[in-house]
Symmetry: C2
Subunit: 798 residues, 2 copies
């Protein structure tokens, strides 16, 4: 495993104290800045060396043909790949006649700090050129949360051991040369030089490039302006070519008199607007940023983040790494979503090109739950994106012979891009995940305008899908055949339990929402008969259960499949999908990631406590966690069923996925859903927070069942609920609930109602943790935090 040896453990920042070229790509991901609209990877200012240069705009992609050796009806023909847009980060440096490239000369010192409270990435370095001159390089960089089109950099250079002539080239660069991703010449052709120049400009300190993508026909503009401060010798010129626009600043420097450059960069893109419109837009954004100034941008950034942390922070005592990790996680989740504004939240945010920049169901099932309680305006934005893509989802359902909407498994613009239907098209649960996100958001925020304007459309069209997808058998049981659940080591099964329970919820929620908005429902053609069919299908939904084992089945018959031979599976053959064929994984009892366990988290009412304990133990023994989406859900159910040490071990896995590069692919971008899982584990696991569905359309209760693992002495978190700010402070013996802001509220503490008001905090005692034998993982898949020697004590000490 490649871990990063030079990250220090600090509560409010991520600090790198050495630069390892081998780990450059990983560091570019963890130091990426984004506001959900635009994103810059943490590339070095000089542009090179780099792991993967990256500047991204949410929604900007290029199309390419999807190749099939054997095509089939309904296979998507067109793929979408997020492209590296015009790079505005680059500030090259020449010291005397040596380009500053850290592969040459000597890096005397290096430090980068990503500050979660200021939202600024700082860098301090001292570098001795091959010619022997040492310079101090300092830069600070931000991607603004308040001015969504804007990023800014302060770059300072100063010789420390004598005079030096320096040249600084601040650039906008389009069509940067990238590492080769695909063997398919047609894909490579679409992504290698995706931008066609439309306009280029450089004058005084101002730069601008406008380009257009060939197939997706999106216009992308980038502009920059600069403030230059330096000694009298300082001179500058600007020049541009179609793919490079450049300000060159030269100065003769002596120690103590640095050259300082402030670079304001703005981006704009559109598939509709004209070249002059987009051109003007970026010039205006730059002008506004210049007017705000660097200090102004920094102040706005800090204020924005202060507000966020006041409603979102999680304090952890007893594990400094986890404390850092959860703030790192929340910061990046916010970055992925804050200013998306009716665009998707990709699986990697805007931190890398992993998964082609696509969005999946984990946005709704992992990322939005966190944001619903911490930054709810980002949730309505993300769901409005789904609503905007309804026409494509309706068309896709029609193509597949289904009613309602079929949302895509993976996409950028709303069109299905999944080329492997058993794990794409058949994974219909994405529709219920979206519906659940709508209901969760409305229940937690009370945003009835959203429900009425967009939510109902999403609920109705997804409910229609489920009704048309399923059928009643001779005994009247409603089945969903041929579907794939979250576990990607199973596919195309009958009655995937997660899917069935989520679809049941979807059908009920749609029927209830239609009652609340009868006029809008009528517009959608929903009548009493249709609602009745939904309620009936929900009531008769199959729930597979193996009576003799006393456990639910992940899908019908699952528990009678052959068990994967974990004992004969070498450790280096994980993840299994890289070493075993799908057909073999699919036909055996082996679970890639929480599936039935996720169902227990999402639909807590559908299981008794004892069922949860038995089901968790059964599936724990089959789950190999080859997905970053698994550990957090397992942690939540481990905590609920009393296995707190196990939950704590899984917390580490979720929290350190990217900081420790546990899956060896952080270079491609951060695992945003796994990061969200850190919060889910702390709040849903150790806080035991659940949202129970209300009866007859009434909002349900928010419930907590706090319990801490031995290693932690305190976990405290703040959540936003229906305009209130609620702080839950969990200690070893008591949990203190405090209404920080808003009207009184009743919550449940371990099942008992607790009324919270401005009168002050309420302290509640922690009940004992039920003692159960600790579940076993598959051979060789025990989480790292649990050593073999501890097993015998399992379940008794907690």
């Amino acid at each position: 495993m490649i871990t990063h040896p030079s990250f220090t453990v600090e509560p409010w920042c991520l600090r790198e104290t050495e630069l390892s070229l081998d780990l450059l790509a990983q560091s570019e991901s963890v130091f990426a800045l984004s506001n959900g609209h635009m994103g810059w990877r943490g590339n070095l200012d000089e542009g090179e060396p780099h792991g993967l240069p990256g500047a991204y705009l949410n929604g900007v992609y290029e199309r390419h043909p999807l190749p099939y050796a054997e095509a089939g009806y309904g296979y998507p023909e067109s793929g979408q790949t997020m492209i590296n847009v015009t790079d505005g980060k680059i500030i090259r440096l020449l010291v005397d006649d040596h380009p500053c490239d850290l592969r040459y000369g000597r890096l005397v010192s290096h430090e980068r700090v990503l500050d979660f409270r200021s939202g600024v990435l700082s860098r301090e370095a001292q570098w001795t050129s091959p010619g022997g001159r040492t310079v101090r390089i300092s830069s600070r960089r931000l991607v603004s949360f308040t001015q969504r089109a804007v990023a800014a950099i302060v770059y300072e250079v100063e010789p420390t051991d004598g005079a030096a002539s320096v040249a600084v080239q601040s650039e906008l660069v389009a069509n940067e040369q990238l590492p080769r991703f695909s063997d398919d010449p047609r894909v490579a052709a679409a992504t290698e030089s995706p931008l066609v120049a439309e306009e280029y400009f450089a004058q005084e300190t101002r730069l601008r490039l406008v380009h257009r993508t060939t197939h997706s026909a999106l216009r992308v503009a980038a502009a920059a302006d600069h403030l230059v401060e330096g000694p009298e010798s300082t001179r500058w010129t600007a020049q541009s070519e179609p793919d490079v626009s450049r300000l060159t600043v030269t100065a003769d420097l002596v120690p103590g008199r640095p050259l300082r450059l402030v670079k304001f960069v703005a981006y704009g893109w559109s598939g509709e607007r004209s070249l002059p419109a987009v051109h003007d837009q970026v010039d205006a954004a730059v002008a506004a940023a210049v007017s705000t100034g660097w200090d102004g941008l920094v102040a706005e950034q800090r204020a924005y983040l202060d507000r966020f942390w006041a409603g979102a922070d999680v304090e952890v005592e007893g594990d400094a790494e986890i404390q850092q990790a959860v703030r790192f996680a929340l910061f990046h989740v916010l970055q992925a979503a804050a200013r998306g504004e009716n665009r998707a939240i990709p699986a990697k945010g805007l931190t890398g090109t992993g998964y082609d920049g696509h969005s999946f169901w984990d946005t709704e099932s992992y990322v939005l739950p966190v944001l619903t309680f911490t930054a709810p305006e980002a949730v309505s934005s993300a769901l409005r994106w789904r609503h905007r893509t309804l026409p494509a989802a309706l068309e896709r359902a029609r193509q597949l012979g289904l009613a309602g909407a079929t949302f895509p498994w993976r996409t950028i613009d709303g069109a299905e891009c999944s080329a492997y239907w058993p794990a794409g098209t058949a994974a219909f649960h994405v529709n219920a995940d979206i519906a659940m996100a709508v209901v969760r958001y409305v229940a937690v925020t009370g945003d009835e305008d959203f429900e009425r304007a967009e939510g109902l459309d999403l609920l109705v069209h997804t409910a229609r899908l489920w009704h048309s997808l399923g059928h009643h058998d001779a005994e009247g049981v409603f089945h969903l055949d041929g579907v794939t659940g979250p576990d990607e080591y199973s596919a195309f099964a009958r009655d995937n339990l997660y899917t069935n329970l989520m679809a049941r919820r979807n059908l009920i929620d749609a029927a209830e929402a239609a009652v609340r908005h009868p006029d809008r429902a009528a517009e959608l053609g929903v009548d009493e008969e249709e609602s009745a069919m939904w309620r009936d299908a929900a009531a008769r939904m199959a729930v597979p259960y193996n009576e003799s084992l006393g456990v639910h089945e992940q899908s019908a018959g699952f528990t009678t499949l052959q068990r994967w031979n974990f004992e004969a599976t070498p450790p280096d053959t994980y993840p299994l999908l890289l070493h075993y064929p799908y057909f073999d994984l699919y036909r055996k009892q082996v679970v890639k990631q929480a599936d039935l366990v996720l169902a227990m988290m999402e639909c807590p009412d559908a299981f008794t406590d004892e069922e949860k304990a038995r089901d968790f133990a059964y599936y724990e023994a089959l789950t190999v966690r080859d997905s970053s989406l698994s550990a957090s859900c397992q942690a939540v159910l481990a905590a609920e069923t009393g296995h707190l040490r196990l939950a704590y071990a899984y917390l580490g896995e979720a929290a350190l996925m990217d900081l420790d590069d546990l899956e060896h692919n952080t270079r491609d971008g951060l695992h945003i859903a796994s990061l969200a899982g850190t919060w889910i584990t702390l709040v849903g696991g150790f806080g035991g927070m659940r949202r129970y569905a209300g009866e007859d359309g009434k909002p349900g209760r928010l419930a907590f069942a706090p319990r801490l693992p031995e290693a932690l002495s305190r976990v405290a978190f703040t959540v936003l609920v229906r305009g209130r700010r609620l702080k839950v402070d969990i200690g070893r013996s008591h949990t203190r609930y405090r209404l920080v802001e808003g009207e009184p509220l009743v919550v449940l503490h371990h099942g008992e109602p607790v009324t919270l008001s401005a009168d002050g905090p309420v302290d509640c005692r922690m009940p004992p943790v039920p003692a159960r034998p600790e579940p076993q993982q598959p051979a060789g898949r025990r989480p790292m935090g649990l050593s073999a020697g501890e097993e015998s004590l399992a379940g008794t000490l907690e």
Copy 2:
């Protein structure tokens, strides 16, 4: 539907009396000549116009990358495509200064005849050039069954209305320009100009080209020699370029004095042998052919076919079209296989590039059953090819984590080329089909040397596959999970009945063969414990059955899936796979082709008569016959269960698949398995011929249960069984069995033993046909031969 309006109905030939350029590609397939080693499509002598030019050598292919938008472990990376090799058919004609191209001028008369007894394709045409001169063109063409490398053409031209100067160019042409098949530039690159010149030669009347394929590295040589007869003015010259070698003959002709050219062509190829070796080989083959001479080749061809027909002919009285079709079918089945000599029998024979020239399971399950009883030496050759590919099948199994051998779903050289695993890799039944073909061949021919030398290897390695693929459940039942049966509208199911019954047979047959050859079995590492495991798995094999419906299940749970909505399926959406997604087909009760019905044919012991009747009726109502492999099996079971009119209707569908181009793709090559199905329907259906497995390794009985549909007054056929020639002559009241040649033999007639000997024929009475209600097909899928008005009479008149 494109039918061919100008084929006449004749018992021993296929005659075309008009040339339709629209139907050229179809006619090129039906008039194709082949001996199983080399094949020439029925292209016009002049080369153009053409539908698809084609000259093929069995086993000569080019490799190309298989593209995947989302790749997976174990996906084949390399595809194989049969290529058009050097074309030796072309004889261009210039009349005065007009090239003879039938798209210009006027075709006064045209006739082509494929004679099934002589094996010669004849052509007579009169053509008036754009310049007004009329010529008679006559050609005869054969691909020799006796000299497998050799083909020959006699070409005559003569003006009929005045003097003409003609030039005849007899050519060898490599890298002919072909219609574009693939959008993938990498596939196109591999197949568009697949041959790289190594040597070219032309001298006097002799031509030669030697080429090599780029990726598969196969050397291909073609040579020709000529005899020229003409008036004194006749002159010729030969010349060659890398891709064209040409003899040009010029003559001034007058009516009554034709120019006659005899062209002898020979092919050779090798992936091993040197250029001089392959070069010498084709020169020698041409020299031998010249020495035999045209008349000699014709005589040999006739003698070869006389022998074949004596052991293979089927006579049909009452339907002249069927009489012609079954001989057309037998002729082409023979052509596909006769001289393959340890190479595959491709799905299209060597008549076109459909399915990329790949071989599938239908060779073993449709083609070899016919050949086993009519040309058994072709069967041992085809099975030796499978044996030669054992190393690839063993390696494939290892790659998939299985024991034994996994034979490919589609291949040319033995490596898996299927890019869609649910219908390829998961269709493991191909292994049992091969094992069944081995056992059938050995039982029918008594070729114990083959069983010992090759058969046992095939049986043991396939049995090992089944044992490792399956598992016992808690009740001790042996299951095969995640397999796909013959029906391509289902996939990845538990306990596909066909697969389970065939695997059961495979396991038993392997165990019994190991007992017969203990020393060879020991070499393969088979001990008593392994044989016992095979017998145990066979004994406990799951046989899915729905008690409440009283029918077997195609796979576990199949009968509880939603029924396809046939009533709402428009007629123009067949074949369904072009209009509905796999996931929807797979999860519903809809059957592309005989699957459970095929199981009843292949494993007749596994069902009672009443079960057969109920199962047939149940699946008949779900089977849409979107595959050319279906009608014949349905016919056989329709006949067995007493539905003779239905069987007769399906006979027409199987028999006329290519002659009437029922699936609109005869242009790509003939459906060899469907052609074989014509024989299967007549012999297995109306003859009721079945081969029952013997007990304890003894050869089983050959059984007949003859019954004729009303439309036919007589069906008579000859089969070869253990060195005997047996003629079965079915009339309306009696069936006459006659041992034409060989030792006495006991067969079953409707269950009763009948001893046949040289003493003379035995006449047996036909029992009454059981009266059962006629099964119904899915809406709109009633076979053509049955009109709606007849339905009410179903089951009573027969």
